[in-house]
C-alpha cells in the first residue's frame, strides 16, 4: 500500500491526517498571523476565472499598505 508520505511528503501527509476541525483551527491560526502582519483581504487576481475583469480585480498590496514608487533616481 502506498503511504501518503511517499506521494505528497511529510507536511501534507500530516495535514491529511488531521480531522476537519483540526484543519479549520490550524487555518484560523494562519489567518490570525496573516492579519497581524497586515495581510490584505483582497483575493488574488484570478485571471482564469470567468469573473475576472482586470480593472475590478486590481489587488491592493498583500500587506494592505500603499506600494512604493520610485519618483526620482539619482545617478550612480
Amino acid at each position: 500500500m502506498i503511504e501518503p508520505e511517499e506521494l505528497v511528503g511529510d507536511e501534507l501527509a500530516e495535514w491529511y491526517r488531521l480531522t476537519p476541525v483540526q484543519r479549520w483551527l490550524e487555518t484560523e491560526k494562519l489567518w490570525q498571523t496573516y492579519l497581524a502582519l497586515g495581510g490584505s483581504l483582497d483575493p488574488e487576481p484570478d485571471t482564469q476565472s470567468p469573473f475576472f475583469h482586470p480593472p475590478a480585480s486590481r489587488p491592493r498590496a498583500a500587506d494592505g499598505r500603499t506600494g512604493l514608487r520610485v519618483v526620482r533616481r539619482g545617478r550612480v
Binding site: 500500500m1 502506498i2 501518503p4 506521494l7 505528497v8 501534507l12 501527509a13 495535514w15 491529511y16 491526517r17 476537519p20 476541525v21 484543519r23 479549520w24 483551527l25 487555518t27 494562519l30 496573516y34 490584505s40 483581504l41 483582497d42 483575493p43 488574488e44 484570478d46 482564469q48 476565472s49 470567468p50 469573473f51 475583469h53 475590478a56
Partner: protein, 227 residues
C-alpha cells in the same frame, strides 16, 4: 463551498474570500439580504444582486464594510455547471460543528469536486488532493460506495492503480464510463497520466463553453455600467 470547504475536506488552502452556494428563492434571498445588510455588504462589480442572474448561473460578489468583517469578500452562486440542483445538494450536505458550536453546512465531497471541475489551473491539483485525502482516511475500512467514488474521481495514477488492483470486477464495470481505468488495471502509469490529462482538458473545455455566453453577458453589463 470554496476554499473553506476544501480545508475541511483535507486540502491545504488559504482562501481570502468565502463562497456560498445558495437556494435562489424569493424568501431565501430576503433572508440573505438581511444577513448581508448586517454585514454591511455591498455588491462589487457586476452582475447586480438579482434573482434572475443567480438563476442563469452567475455569481454575485460582495464586500463587507462592517468593522468586524471589514473588506471580507463573499461570493454567492446558485447554479453551477454539471452540479445538481440546490435541493439535492442540500440533502447530501455535510454538517460540521466547529469548536465554538458554529455549524457549517458544506457541500458533500462529490458535489464539491464537481463544482471544482472548472477551466482554472488551480482547481485541478485541488481536486486531486481532496480525493487523495479522502482515500487515505477511508481505505482501511472502505465501503463499496467509497471504492466506486475513488474509481470515478481519483486523479493520482499510483492510487488509481492500487484501487483497481484490489477491485477488479468493479473496475471492469466502471471502465465503460471511465476508460482510463483500463490503463490503471494494466498498471500503465504513463498511459494513465496521459489519459488523466485528456480527461481534464475535456472538462476544462466544457467549462469554457458553458461560460462563454455568461462571460458575454458580464461584458455587456460592464459596458452598460461604464455608460
Amino acid at each position: 463551498m470554496g476554499g473553506q470547504a476544501c480545508v475541511l475536506y483535507g486540502a491545504a488552502e488559504f482562501s481570502r474570500d468565502t463562497d456560498f452556494a445558495i437556494l435562489a428563492g424569493a424568501s431565501n434571498l430576503a433572508r440573505l439580504r438581511r444577513a448581508l445588510a448586517e454585514l454591511q455588504a455591498e455588491v462589487i462589480a457586476v452582475p447586480p444582486f438579482e434573482i434572475s442572474y443567480l438563476h442563469r448561473g452567475h455569481a454575485i460578489h460582495f464586500r463587507c464594510q462592517h468593522p468586524e468583517a471589514l473588506r471580507v469578500r463573499l461570493d454567492v452562486i446558485s447554479k453551477m455547471r454539471g452540479v445538481d440542483s440546490f435541493e439535492k445538494l442540500w440533502q447530501r450536505r455535510v454538517s460540521i460543528e466547529l469548536p465554538d458550536r458554529t455549524k457549517c453546512e458544506v457541500l458533500s465531497l462529490p458535489d464539491l469536486l464537481q463544482a471544482k471541475k472548472t477551466q482554472r489551473d488551480k482547481d485541478w491539483p485541488m481536486i486531486r488532493r481532496l480525493v487523495e485525502a479522502h482515500y487515505f482516511s477511508n481505505r482501511s475500512h472502505a465501503m463499496l460506495a467509497q471504492v466506486r467514488f475513488w474509481l470515478k474521481e481519483l486523479r493520482t495514477p499510483e492510487l488509481l492503480v492500487e484501487v483497481c488492483h484490489s477491485n477488479s470486477t468493479l473496475t471492469r464495470r466502471l471502465s465503460a464510463t471511465r476508460p482510463l481505468l483500463l490503463k490503471a488495471s494494466a498498471g500503465d502509469l504513463m498511459g494513465l497520466a496521459v489519459e488523466l490529462e485528456t480527461e481534464e482538458a475535456s472538462e476544462r473545455e466544457r467549462d469554457r463553453l458553458y461560460w462563454a455566453p455568461l462571460r458575454r453577458e458580464l461584458e455587456a453589463l460592464r459596458h452598460a455600467k461604464r455608460g
